[in-house]
């Protein structure tokens, strides 16, 4: 996305010089604008970018504003999937009509911060910033969402969200996240977040959990505890086998507890045993984080199955 390139353009004098701001109205125009000005930085809600500008870490030579691209500010249906525009704001995703479609993403959007942030911050921005605490990210990981990335000359390529977040694939220069394709699962989904306070705050740990009844699967992702969302795949498969899918998705309460512990231990493993075979205890703060993840995962599954 070339965001860091802007930092090179720091000027020592005459900073009053007008900055070039382009406001394209289509995705292809935006991509073209980025190609024309390689030093330009794309900006959507600006909730991360402007904080970097204000703290002096970033001084973009030019900006490409994405706020007027109407094609990426809504969503549409596409063979069993929802095609979400990258410019969808958290406020929009939090509304009831969206919540009926993708409940976990709506819950994450509602929890994403105070109203000012939710009104400005976008889905695409959350992905591009890829902050460990990005609330949409564990949901997209659990949903196994796919990104549709717009490149020069109308090119489009698809990248699984987890590949981008894990750094297996990168956005190339001049590319923009256009859409996010999310499967419509028509089943309960839960997003839970622990913040350490009652008011809006960044997650200390979060859990997104979705049920996929067609494939009889449970998919879960843990956010905020690692640089990218973590998927406890074995725990997912184990618990999916314990759910009575044909009988109201019943499960024994012990399995809920077991799932919580399984997820927590998978995401926050014990330290490697010492030479004498003893396992060094985790520091108290890490133990608490593990306990929090266990409680969140247990609660999330319990709510999804209730």
């Amino acid at each position: 996305m070339g965001q860091r390139e802007g930092a090179v353009g720091l000027t020592t004098h005459a900073p009053q010089a007008a900055q070039a701001v382009t406001l394209p109205t289509t995705l292809d125009e935006a991509v073209a604008a980025l190609a024309a000005m390689p030093a330009a930085v794309p900006v959507a809600g600006g909730t991360d970018l402007m904080a970097a500008v204000n703290s002096g870490q970033l001084r973009p030579a030019a900006l490409v504003g994405l706020g007027r691209i109407s094609e990426i500010r809504g969503w549409q249906y596409q063979d069993g999937h929802a095609l979400l525009g990258a410019g969808l704001t958290h406020a929009r995703m939090g509304r009831p009509d969206f919540a009926a479609l993708i409940p976990a993403l709506a819950a994450a959007a509602r929890a994403a911060g105070p109203p000012q942030i939710r009104n400005a911050g976008t889905l695409g921005g959350n992905i591009a910033s890829a902050a460990p605490t990005g609330d949409a990210l564990p949901v997209l990981a659990a949903l196994e969402a796919t990104l549709i990335i717009a490149g020069p000359d109308g090119a489009r390529r698809e990248v699984p969200v987890s590949h981008l977040l894990a750094g297996m694939e990168m956005l190339r220069a001049g590319e923009l996240i256009g859409y996010v394709r999310v499967p419509l699962l028509h089943a309960p989904q839960v997003f839970l977040k622990a913040t350490g306070r009652t008011g809006p705050g960044r997650a200390t740990a979060s859990v997104a959990l979705v049920l996929d009844p067609a494939r009889r699967g449970v998919r879960c992702a843990v956010g905020a505890i690692a640089p990218m969302p973590l998927r406890p795949l074995e725990a997912e498969q184990w618990v999916a086998s314990l759910i009575d899918w044909d009988n109201g998705r019943a499960i024994v309460p012990e399995a809920l507890h077991g799932f919580g512990e399984y997820v927590a231990a998978a995401c926050i493993p014990d330290e490697a045993p010492a030479e004498d075979g003893t396992v060094p205890p985790l520091p108290p703060a890490v133990l608490h984080l593990r306990r929090t993840v266990a409680a969140l995962a247990r609660r999330a599954l319990g709510r999804a199955l209730s």
Binding site: T12, R197, G199, R291
Partner: protein
Amino acid sequence: MSNDAATAEAEGTPETAAPVPEPIPHGLGASLPPADARAKTEGTFPYAADLWAEGLLWAAVLRSPHPHARIVSIDTTHAREMPGVRAVITHEDVPGAPLHGRGARADRPVFASEVVRHHGEPLAAVAADHPDTARMAAAAVIVEYEVLDPVTDPEQAFEAEPLHPDGNLIRHIPLRHGDPEAAGEIVVEGLYRIGRQDPAPIGAEAGLAVPRPDGGVELYLASTDPHGDRDIAAACYGLSPEQVKIVVTGVPGATADREDQGFQLPLGLLALKTGCPVKLTATREESFLGHTHRHPTLLRYRHHADAEGRVVKVEAQILLDAGAYADTSSDALAAAVAFACGPYVVPNAFIEGWAVRTNNPPSGHVRGEGAMQVCAAYEAQMDKIAKKLGLDPAEVRLRNVMATGDVLPTGQTVTCPAPVAELLQAVRDFPLPALPKDTPEDEWLLPGGPEGAGEPGAVRRGVGYGIGMVHMLGAEGADEVSTATVKVQDGVATVLCAAVETGQGFTTLARQIVQETLGVDEVHVAPVDTDQPPAGAGCRGRHTWVSGGAVERAAKMVRTQLLQPLAHQFGMSTELLQIADGKITSYDGVLSTTVAEALDGKELWATAQCRPHPTEPLDEAGQGDAFVGMAFCAIRAVVDVDIEIGSVRVVELAVAQDVGRVLNPAQLTARIEAGVTQGVGIALTENLRTPRGLVRHPDLTGYALPTALDTPDIRIVKLVEERDVVAPFGAKAVSAVPVVASPAAVASAVRAATGRPVNRLPIRPQAAVATGT
């Protein structure tokens, strides 16, 4: 007073200001709105950051990235050569005293010269024609450091190499009171830690310095102590105090010494050097690095009590982390030691208090300093006594509370009203908030917030108490004095007083006092600068007392001047004449005239001073009448705790406070609510972390202030109006004591909900988990 009456009083008074047809409230006891409320809400009120001068330059300050380092060299060549840079100054450019300090000791350099002692210490300053240029040039100053190991643990400061020529021990008070051999039937002990609260003033810190043709300089600052700041600035600039004038701009709220002299002092130096006006608006990061914080404190307590729960003896060790410089740490330590036992009768007390120097960011005045930290500890001890004896926590406190006439561990007799029992009973007997199961129709805000992870089944409710006390005005022989002038002309009164309006409501109070005394409705309060006589710093309730007292005296003198001719004419004393609603009437109704007629075009002036009774320093055994007056507050906290995740929501805080007299109900309510909320921040979220001396997350995302959702329902259950006869109007300061009591109350409630010891503030989630390991 019954609970119903108490509720009516608490909830009824602020609302009386609301109905439209009511006449505009005036005089003492009315909810007069602040004169600048409209401008502040509409954004037209000029704060320091809004100032502008023709041809101004912008300043930037280079701050140390290390908590402790020896400065090998400072090279400003590159910075000076940058286009647009007009001046670069370092310690070599300070013409006057190289050291300054707010407290008794001047130990802080304007710019570090040989050693940096904390992260963020100023090293150089730049003036340039654009703020970015100035920052870039500051970054281009090349400083070669020899990084030293920082001393960040205050316990190690005693043994460590001296961090400063003055040594590492800033003050030690070994208080001894009573019989050291006394022993109780039970003993409870505890070790408590209080974190580093930042005053986090939301309004940007900013200043403008304008050079004067006579070689002096004018500083436009949001200073809370203009004369104190002027004297420091003049000494550092090598000028006489008359050559430096501080003009106080709008102060965007202050709960502490909100302004950082690290940028104030360089501003004036740069203006003098360049001959141009120089401005600086601090970024949030600079603000966190620059101004002083609340003292992080380590407290070790041992309480002896008899079988009925009466405290026999308190032994305590209190260690205040003063940070790199002394600032006002000596005052904070005196308050901590004197109030170490709280508002309880303790016949035998042995308190050792130390304030020590470390390489952490400097600590200073934040309201309730010293008293807040010890309150969290002694209230935890009271909970432990209750638990050990199987008694109700409120009952144990009631068996120990002090009253007027009791003696503090400092040997000072409490002569002011001390209705502590009444306060505690009021909050104890106030009905508890409904449980969610009793009000199923209401949405339940769970710990963790509306979109959080809270699960009703894991939530436990707890109730706890905190009783706080603070002293008012400066202590230990500080000369507390304020001067005010009142002028009346054409039926309009003007008050001139150098007491700064910091949000505490002084200007509104000054208007009310003059309205009450002179019967004039229209009262203006003049802006503050150092050409006026000193009024002292705006802290510890000083202005309500000394400046309010000075305004009252001046207004009374004007009243006498106004009435004397009339009284003489009618052959009666001035006491028999009344002024109300702009009319002067005699007791028998014979005389009736208006203030305007009585003035007859004259202009009346009077200037008066208020100086409360003197105090004395604490002696080498911590004994002495050190305080002018004290104020008390009892708070009952109700919390919900998610005992699996450890998230805490404060549901309700019920407050009963000793206020002396209610002078402005709406303002008083707002001050208590603000204080309580600041206390909730200390209890749950506010802690500026400084691992290895480096300030982490100096922004409002990393430093979590309470939001509306974190703030509980605040019920002002009772305001005890027992007048303090030595205070003007009998009124006590109200802002600081709720800050002192509320963190202790929240901790006490979390203790009740979880059964965990909760010995550290802010309360970390892992300390509020009641299951598992």
